[in-house]
């Protein structure tokens, strides 16, 4: 690495620093896992332009993940690098919510997963960029511009699929039924997030949930899709209890470094 990244670590107690590390890793894992899922579409997209769109969004998320991992490495301060954190942690150490590790399924599943995540992501970044942690604010300031394009793209596809043909509607409804249950975890604070909310580092998720609800309701109305009500919400990923899918994903993502440790270009 020939560039230096100027990373400012906030002046906080050792305990809060550990909590911040866990939260930043959660953000990093979330962006990385969704980026990997989207990259699985590369060369398989329904049409070339959408293949490119998913690769572009994947790349944005990968860049965002790198920024978080670099910050996490600094917060941890034990000499581990961004690569160590991404490639050498096992599934139970990953902290991404369950939604982003769900398989791509058909294009409708990918779009619904993306839209549910994008709506959360965009509104979260808006808050983080105004937050007290300088480094998180800088990453959020950078990424929110990209996240705006993502949520516009996935919202337009929700509308095309929902208000499209019988086939597209059947598929998007099936995807909503399958994935809605994972949307609640995004704004259900873990113990770590609760502690950081008290310390002012993590925004109020109830307020973000309200913004997401308004956003989703507006887009679903345009798509002529009903917003599911009273669905039991799954959770676990943010505390390391994942679905079986994550292990397979990491087996592919980490294959090279696990097989040839320390390999570089």
């Amino acid at each position: 690495m020939q560039e230096t990244h100027t990373i400012v670590v906030p002046d906080v107690s050792a305990e809060v620093r550990q909590q911040l590390l866990a939260f930043v890793l959660q953000l990093a894992d979330t962006s990385l896992i969704l980026a990997h899922r989207l990259s699985e579409w590369c060369g398989h997209g329904p049409i070339l332009e959408q293949d490119l769109a998913m690769a572009n969004i994947s790349l944005d998320l990968l860049g965002e993940a790198r920024s978080y991992y670099q910050y996490a490495a600094e917060l941890e301060g034990r000499g581990r690098t961004e690569d160590d954190l991404a490639y050498l942690r096992s599934a139970v150490e990953y902290r991404n919510p369950l939604l982003v590790e769900q398989p791509n399924g058909d294009f409708a599943h990918t779009i619904v997963r993306q839209f549910l995540y994008d709506a959360f992501h965009y509104h979260l970044l808006l808050q983080l960029q105004a937050g007290p942690d300088q480094q998180l604010a800088a990453i959020a300031e950078k990424s929110v511009k990209e996240a705006a394009y993502h949520v516009k793209w996935s919202a337009e596809w929700i509308i095309r699929l929902g208000d499209g043909t019988d086939e597209s509607r059947r598929r998007v409804e099936a995807a909503i039924t399958a994935l809605w249950r994972y949307s609640g975890e995004l704004t259900t604070p873990s113990a770590t997030e609760q502690a950081l909310q008290q310390a002012g580092f993590v925004p109020d998720y109830a307020a973000i949930q309200q913004q997401i609800d308004e956003h989703v309701t507006r887009v679903f109305a345009e798509a002529t899709l009903p917003v599911p009500q009273g669905v039991f919400m799954q959770k676990g990923g943010k505390t390391g209890r994942h679905s079986e899918h994550l292990g397979y994903l990491l087996a592919e993502l980490q294959y090279l470094q696990r097989t040839y440790p320390g390999l570089t270009w």
Binding site: T6, L52, L62, R66, S67, I139, A148
Partner: protein, 168 residues
């Protein structure tokens, strides 16, 4: 090997040298045209250059840092520190007017001020001039193009596809 100190080196001279470093993805633009060099500082014989990525995942940043290093090395500058800065976030507003003209001549529509809110759905795209035939009868094909910074358009008159360096 003898180490010579370049006594005539000034910050202005470093800016001149950086003007000769081109963007690896849009080689018609220098990194100054793009607005990704945020600062140059000379401290004794140590040179500090601060750059910022266009997009978070921009794969060109390492290449740009290498190219800066090589260009300055050719001038005898060995004590170089390249700093990567995220905030303030890069914006197309930092692109030079000369850069915009070069882009259009190269066949890429330059960034236009966005109209309406970024989240507006469908049909809120800026009116673009086709860089091939100058017609403004053009349409968005995809918000995501050949690189992270570009959208994909097509001209309805000459039918040629073209890239749009999207507003950011």
């Amino acid at each position: 090997m003898t180490v010579t100190t370049n006594l005539s080196l000034t910050e202005d001279r470093i800016w001149q040298l950086l003007e000769e470093v081109s963007d690896p993805e849009v080689p018609v633009l220098s990194i100054l045209d793009l607005g990704i060099v945020r600062g140059v500082r000379l401290e004794g014989d140590e040179v500090h250059v601060t750059i910022t990525p266009t997009y978070s995942g921009c794969p060109a940043m390492n290449t740009i840092a290498t190219d800066i290093r090589l260009r300055l090395l050719a001038e005898g500058i060995t004590r170089l520190h390249i700093h990567n800065q995220l905030s303030p976030a890069w914006t197309t507003a930092w692109m030079s007017e000369a850069g915009k003209q070069k882009l259009e001549a190269y066949g890429i529509a330059p960034p236009q001020d966005a109209t309406g809110h970024v989240l507006n759905l469908f049909g809120q795209e800026p009116v673009l001039r086709c860089p091939h035939c100058q017609s403004t009868n053009t349409r968005l094909v995809s918000q995501f193009g050949s690189t992270a910074c570009k959208a994909h358009y097509q001209c309805n008159d000459c039918l040629e596809p073209f890239d749009y360096f999207k507003c950011h």
